[in-house]
Symmetry: D2
């Protein structure tokens, strides 16, 4: 995801210094004008905006507060723009950490990031949102402002992933019934495509019907993590989400049965196993 | 729904005799060439195909097997084409009742029926499906063949309604969190429209965000009935559907709290109440 | 169950004519004073009270309304006392069938029936409950009067079985965690016995810890049936029971995985499989 | 809870220094031979064993690692014996904190603690369990050894609380049905007492039937916390617990509706509200 975002920032004419643990990934951007840094701490020197795109809370924590983290080297006026899918709790912590902070979560696969087709959901102090809006518009096709507290954007991202995940589980349950009823899941999918007319349904519905879960577009273990974070946000807000709990438990069962590295759409296998398939 | 279907059959050049308990509804079709019958038994005389579109199992049972039902008056070669959302069990019973029978369930609202935009899902003996295919193509924009057993089309219809209902519940849970988090549900919806790009999401997402549940496009008590029938099909096939159970129980809670006649999207109120809203 | 009940009625000094599809089971009671009939219809002639103890709705329906059923041969003043675990809907149907009817459901295993240790839950018109109370007291150690409508006793029986079943599922989930945590389930059971001090916990807790599910004391497929009937009663009364739904779906998964004839405590295997065990 | 435990340690002849944030609570034990300390740090000086009984992770963390915490003042050979219901994660952290550590969780209400009737579940290195076993036997009627890793005792405690909580929810669902069916919940309870013969069922079943939720014996917000910790343990072990999730979400709904300080048995109100009661 990160390189797509970086590429679009470069295309929009911004100066960019990049860092990745795997240095080759960073160097791939040199041809397009990026400079490569040796550490997060080094990458942010002199920057106005610091974008991060990482896999989970621990990785963000390390890059910000860790030994070579950038917390200490960021400029006084610089703002950290976090694109990662992290907990609302960490977003609040980052917002309180002493420099500017915006959450700017993104929906879309790596291809969408490359193609500047992400849906960006941001939240934070209105003046900072206004100031950095051009950066957000540069990386996606649509920018949604969720509110004035950064963690609100993270709540939307987590719930959005729940919306997709519940669709995956719904397909899983329906297909399990179809298969036990000797109905080709593709017939069901054809009807659903007629009904929902959504590329997300078409794409995932086909993956599950074809049981093609590798290579993973989005690893199931990350989906599990996101459901855990969505439920944590729900608990913070005292808003029970029983269907989210079902989806979470199904991801956990999938992980317990060795599917952590498969695509998260393989949650459908849990329903299939439950039906004796 | 029935009048839209009837109108498109007339437009396709078929001769049609119509019956409705509320005679005016039937008579509204006279101007377009329909004849009106006084009873189901009378309506089917001489017909090659008998279409039914009714609200539930009991209504279908009455029209077929009841006092003025058409079971006795249907021609030997005539085929009953059932568009209603009924149980798989009743579909099997109708298929075993002695004359030809096809299930031809439909997805779409009354406006879609009028506009010949239904998605039709049919199942039955291949020769009969082939024979009556033109009738099905005349009433929708897409015809999906589910299998050779009529009840298979009913299984697809029930699971399709579950797909929509689970989306409604997902919106309900997410919006409850949004509201507790002081985020405008419309911001969440904007992101979901960017993500799913589905008219079904756009339509229901807006209804729930606006809490506009009356008048009902599809009554919640019918959604409850459909989830019950989906779970009954799941039990027949030994295919557990835990998320469907959650959705069913939420509809039941909505009905217990006086929402039976509201639109089924008002299931979202259950999540709201559960969050103390 | 039936023979234990019959034996205690004989011991209490009542005259008894017995019928069982498997004639030897009936004849085993001759030595204790019972007469054997060739059909349900014959068995009830001249009887004041007609006890039935059968496995499900279909069996009760057959014995009452079937070809050799007793509906037609029961005396005008006779009362049908149904001990079976049947649906509330069938109880209402039996109560409306034209002769006296009491539901008198029972909790306890066959050994408890033999030992006159059943818990009997009855409901029906107060005068009939009073009249036949001695028969109920003769077969159990405790008689609970649930209300004046027979089906109310069936609602209690179904919910009582749910209470046990939810305990089984709770053990299943806890033991799965124990095993993944390298804790001996017997240590957990020891603590639970200290805590609950209930023979039901001790008994089932040990069966599940030992994974000894055969022979079945109570077949899982019957537990599944009872959860279905409990949920049907819940729907009739508009009282959502989400935990009951979870238990139902777990039994269904167990049945789909070949455990229908095992003891219902084998529901614990569903949690184990879900955890990758 | 703490004072009952302290009293039984004194009765068994042990020397005891006590600390409580509310000094009067500590001083109440002086008459029985306890000395009172001004801080946790002071309380542990010279002690062989340090018992803690606190409400949650944060409180334990404060008392151990906080400003006046005892981590720095504990003797080299001293062992921390934690009776609190805390997360398995914190138990692991405490075990790794540099001095001896045993988890010794307890089941029972304050009255049971006073009466030396607790069920104690301990885990830790076998030599330390053996060394401190007399202290554990002094405070309860039964000591269960869960394993060699302290957190295993916490896993048992959390799952034990889930066993109770799932019983509470089961009563709640059953009673809601009873009330909608015009059956007195006490009739259902009478049958359950006949069936389970457990004081826990008798006690909680009556509280819920009488809807007597204040004053709280155990606050609902603590029950919610325990279900969260049980689910966290389940996730650590990859052992999905879907019924636990239901119970968790019901507690969360209760808390969202203002029941956090009521007894946890008031979870039954969630089922009642869901049924429109």
């Amino acid at each position: 995801m990160g390189s797509g975002i970086a590429r679009n920032l470069l295309r929009a004419g911004h100066q960019l210094t990049v860092y990745n643990r795997t240095r080759e990934k960073a160097e791939a951007l040199v041809a397009e004008g990026a400079r490569v840094a040796n550490s997060p701490a080094e990458a942010v020197r002199g920057a106005e905006a610091v974008h991060t795109m990482l896999s989970d809370d621990a990785a963000v924590r390390e890059v910000v507060f860790g030994r070579d983290g950038f917390a200490a080297t960021m400029g006084r006026d610089a703002v950290h723009i976090s694109h990662s899918t992290i907990s609302t709790a960490l977003a609040r912590e980052l917002a309180a950490a002493g420099h500017g902070y915006l959450s700017a979560t993104v929906f879309g696969r790596p291809e969408a990031a490359e193609a500047k087709k992400l849906v960006v959901v941001t939240a934070g102090p209105p003046d900072q949102v206004a100031r950095f809006r051009p950066l957000l518009d540069a990386i996606g096709r649509q920018t949604v402002v969720a509110g004035t507290e950064p963690w609100q954007a993270n709540a939307i991202k987590l719930c959005g992933n729940f919306m997709i995940a519940s669709m995956l589980e719904a397909f899983g349950e329906a297909y399990a019934l179809m298969r036990k009823a000797h109905i080709d899941p593709h017939a069901f999918l054809e009807a659903m495509n007629g009904l929902f007319a959504s590329p997300v349904y078409a794409n995932y519905g086909a993956m599950i019907a074809d049981e093609k879960f590798e290579p993973a577009g989005f690893a199931l273990k990350l989906g599990l993590k996101d459901m855990r974070l969505a439920l944590a946000a729900a608990e913070e807000c005292s808003a029970p989400m029983p269907m989210t709990s079902v989806v979470h438990d199904r991801f956990l069962s999938a992980a317990a049965n060795g599917q952590g590295e498969m695509d998260w759409s393989s949650i459908a296998r849990v329903a299939a196993r439950g039906a004796g398939l």
